[in-house]
């Protein structure tokens, strides 16, 4: 008889053979899948980074988003400096001389004094005015205007100015225009779009855009001899500025850049301006350095663009977040109720959704914004008025407008999920032990449909950022001095040709946000609902 010598196997050995693996919950599994997806992790890191920047960033910069330092307006992130003697100067595009030390401005000097430039700018801006100011009206302006010629020419500056009368329907409009070759067109036209007609002259952009209503102040300008007067003033003008500081003299001569080509003296052909200080004359930019007062430059009112961009990102994110939450609450409730009740209720509620779905939503948001900004809802109780809702052009309004419009897709999605889930046994079990309908929806159905809901919410955030930027862009966004990224981009547009950096940074921030949220959203979709996975 063989000696059967059975031995007890140690517990560890047994487990090794069974090949057990710690079971993962749904959410752990989602996290595992998300971690394996490279682009979504990039998105996640990006989102965290952007949120941190938006939340903490504005406190870390030395300025507030509304701090104005008008002396230092329109400084680019990189400054073209001129070193003369022992000082360093920077000349702004509007002919303002600043003294710099280590990239910081230490002193500023008065603007160009005999300001013919300003004079021209002033008139150029207000070129088009209805003569008859009493009947103010908005003109539907044509895309191009044909101008007659009655012009005055200054050989010294190579500038031609003209007066002409143009009629819009019944109204005569006096136009002063400047020859396109004139050096003055670069001076503070702020890069707005202007219209060049066949004869090669341009009239100011307000023409193209819609001037709006003129006021009596503008009408004070003497149109009859506008161009003639300006030319006479120009012929006498010099663009030399003498500044004294600390007992020393700085002479800035702006004439060369403005002069007609054949009037420029030898050796100054490509010189814009000269600075004379301590007997030295500087003709060219000597170096380009980083702007250390405003890392990303400053805007028209001398506000720090870095702070504004970070703050704008915060506003955009808050709007997107509130909109998503509102969208979540309405959409999920509506969809879950419709799906759970079923039958006629479902039919009716889904027809309503169908109708809303066939409305162009962007238009609807615009309409809602227009209304919500101004509407005041109040009730009168016992002779006293209580205001329930006061429309503002603040954050809340835009978030509500977005949230109340875009819930339709969410409602459809939740309804579909709920219809599938409500027939399952666990719902039946809950019902048999007498759980109320509201509780079944909120405790059993919605948590089980959470995956697709989260995906939809993640996709809603970039969409809301986009829409908000668009709304701000057409002037329906948050009101000044607050500014979202869209507002910043819109404000930068008017001076874009001269100051492209003002548009670049907000635009880059929007693009980064979109990219990060889209990547994360795609990753979440793949992780939460592998069935939806797309190539």
């Amino acid at each position: 008889m063989a000696d059967l010598n059975f031995k007890k196997v140690a517990k560890e050995d047994k487990q090794d053979i069974e090949q057990t693996r710690r079971s993962l919950t749904y959410w752990q599994d989602v996290w595992r899948r998300l971690k394996n997806n490279k682009s979504s992790m990039v998105g996640l890191v990006g989102v965290i980074f952007i949120v941190l920047l938006a939340v903490v960033g504005p406190w870390l910069t030395p300025y507030d988003y509304s701090d104005q330092q008008s002396d230092f307006s329109n400084l680019p992130p990189r400054l073209d400096i001129r070193e003369v003697g022992d000082k360093t100067f920077y000349v702004t595009r509007v002919y303002r001389l600043l003294e710099l030390q280590d990239g910081r401005v230490v002193d500023r000097f008065a603007d160009l004094d005999t300001n013919v430039v300003d004079k021209i700018n002033h008139h150029a801006k207000e070129i088009i005015l209805p003569i008859n100011v009493e009947t103010t009206q908005t003109y539907a302006l044509p895309s191009s205007v044909t101008l007659g010629a009655d012009e005055y020419y200054s050989e010294k500056w190579g500038i031609a100015l003209g007066d002409t009368t143009y009629s819009f329907g019944d109204d005569a409009v006096e136009v002063v225009y400047i020859h396109p070759d004139s050096p003055f067109q670069n001076v503070e036209f702020e890069g707005s779009p202007y219209d060049v007609n066949e004869s090669g002259y341009f009239a100011e952009l307000t023409l193209v855009d819609n001037y709006g209503e003129a006021n009596a102040e503008d009408a004070a300008y003497d149109f009859d001899h506008g161009a003639e007067n300006l030319i006479t003033a120009l012929e006498d003008a010099t663009f030399v500025e003498e500044i004294r500081f600390y007992g020393e003299e700085v002479i800035v001569d702006y004439s060369y850049g403005l002069m007609n080509d054949n009037m420029v003296p030898d050796g100054y052909e490509d010189v814009n301006l000269t600075i004379e200080y301590q007997g030295e004359e500087n003709k060219y930019v000597t170096d380009t350095i980083h702007n250390k007062i405003f890392l990303l430059g400053s805007d028209t009112q001398g506000r720090d663009i870095l702070t504004r961009v970070l703050y704008g990102a915060r506003i955009s994110l808050i709007v997107a977040l509130i909109a998503t939450v509102v969208n979540f609450i309405i959409g999920v409730t509506y969809g879950a109720v419709a799906g759970y009740l079923g039958g006629n209720w479902d039919n009716f509620m889904m027809r309503v959704v169908d109708i809303i779905n066939s409305i162009p939503l962007v238009l609807w948001v615009i309409l809602l914004m227009v209304v919500l900004r101004e509407v005041v809802i109040d009730i009168e109780i016992a002779g006293r008025t209580y205001v329930i809702f006061r429309g503002t052009s603040g954050l809340g309004t835009i978030a509500i407008a977005l949230g109340t419009v875009y819930w339709v897709a969410m409602a459809r999605l939740v309804r579909g999920q709920v219809i599938g889930l409500k027939e399952q046994e666990f719902v039946l079990a809950a019902r048999t032990i007498g759980v109320s309908n509201a509780k079944i929806i909120s405790r059993h159905l919605i948590p089980n449909a959470l995956g697709p809901i989260i995906v939809s919410m993640a996709m809603m955030i970039p969409a809301a950022v986009f829409t908000e930027a668009f709304l701000s862009f057409i002037g329906l966004g948050v009101s000044a001095p607050q500014a979202s990224l869209g507002t910043l981009a819109n404000n930068a547009l008017s001076g874009f040709q001269s100051y492209p950096y003002k548009l670049f940074f907000p635009a880059a921030m929007i693009a980064l946000m979109m990219l990060a949220f889209n990547f994360l959203g795609d990753g979440l979709r793949d992780a939460l609902d592998p069935r939806l996975r797309k190539g």
Binding site: D195, D209, I355, E374, I474, G475, G486, L503, K534, G535
Partner: protein, 309 residues
């Protein structure tokens, strides 16, 4: 089929009526009228203006008037652009917007779908990565930034394109590209992903196993099904593009219809806002209807009359 069409058209009209009604009452809920100015007009003038535009009648009668006008395609006078009716405004702006939009839509379909297909067929190749990189960029950069960049690079720096207006045929290039940006990227991404999904399906494998040429498999069997989500997107997109993008028209100073809507919004020109809303909605609904009809043409399994969708 006819029954279905009639039903759909009736629903569309009903929807439009609801949109017009809600828009009307929403706009009237705003305090202040179209004649509220910063510098207040004399009472007599306001009264005269209100009388002229029937704004002194009870709200309900104004509403009836408006609906009556709508049914006869008369959208009423503009309150702010004097001497113009909303119909005039649409007539002057719509052709331009539609032309630019038409070119953009056509290009989106002509470029976007083939690019998406190529990208799907060469999945994970450099071509695919390049296309997807561009497409992702296109979806993330708002069109006003694309538009500004076009002006900056091609008009200001290089001087190839006019910076605004469309008096020169070259002037169309900028607006068209800016309008296309987002949708072109979206369409090529959508085509790519739905093509990939269809190519993985059994019937495609069967077709290949039967020895049908690859070209036939792709164009005859796979493409039709892959196009369904694309068409769902393209329909409403065409409506949105044809009726003019507010932003692009503003930046390029195109005398299209989008500009008037934005102006109407800022000027509180009620009739213009309502007119544009109704026009735009009608177009949108029409495109959705077209999409639904296209479904059954592409995929006979989708039955229109009755049946589950």
């Amino acid at each position: 089929m006819t029954k279905y069409l009639i039903k759909r058209i009736l629903t569309a009209i009903f929807t439009l009526l609801i949109i017009a009604t809600v828009t009307f009452f929403l706009l009237r809920a705003i305090p202040g009228g179209p004649f509220t100015r910063e510098k207040a007009l004399p009472d007599a003038i306001i009264r005269a203006l209100n009388e002229k535009y029937n704004l002194d009648k009870p709200l309900f009668f104004q509403y009836l008037d408006y609906i009556k006008g709508l049914l006869t395609f008369n959208l009423g006078p503009s309150y702010r652009i004097l001497g113009f009716t909303v119909n005039d405004i649409i007539r002057s702006g719509l052709p331009t917007s539609a032309l630019i939009g038409g070119i953009a839509s056509a290009l989106i379909v002509i470029i976007g779908i083939p690019v998406g297909i190529i990208s799907a067929l060469k999945q994970n190749s450099p071509v695919d990565y390049f296309v997807m990189f561009l497409a992702t960029l296109g979806v993330t950069v708002p069109n006003f930034i694309i538009a500004t960049l076009i002006i900056y690079i091609f008009s200001t720096q290089l001087g190839w394109l006019p910076s605004n207006g469309i008096s020169n045929p070259l002037g169309y290039i900028g607006p068209v590209i800016a309008l296309m940006g987002y949708s072109l990227s979206f369409v090529s991404r959508l085509t790519r992903s739905s093509m990939l999904e269809v190519l993985r399906q059994d019937y495609v494998r069967t077709a290949r196993a039967n020895g049908i040429s690859e070209r036939k498999v792709i164009f005859k069997h796979a493409l039709k099904n892959a196009l369904i989500p694309v068409i769902t997107y393209v329909g409403p997109m065409v409506a949105a593009i044809l009726t003019g993008s507010f932003v692009v028209e503003k930046i390029f100073a195109v005398p299209g219809i989008g500009r008037y809507f934005v102006q109407g919004v800022t000027n509180r020109d009620y009739t213009v806002i309502m007119g544009m809303t109704v026009l735009y909605s009608a177009f949108y609904i029409f495109m959705i209807l077209l999409v639904d009809l296209a479904y059954s043409w592409i995929d006979p399994r989708i039955r229109l009359d009755g049946g589950a969708r």
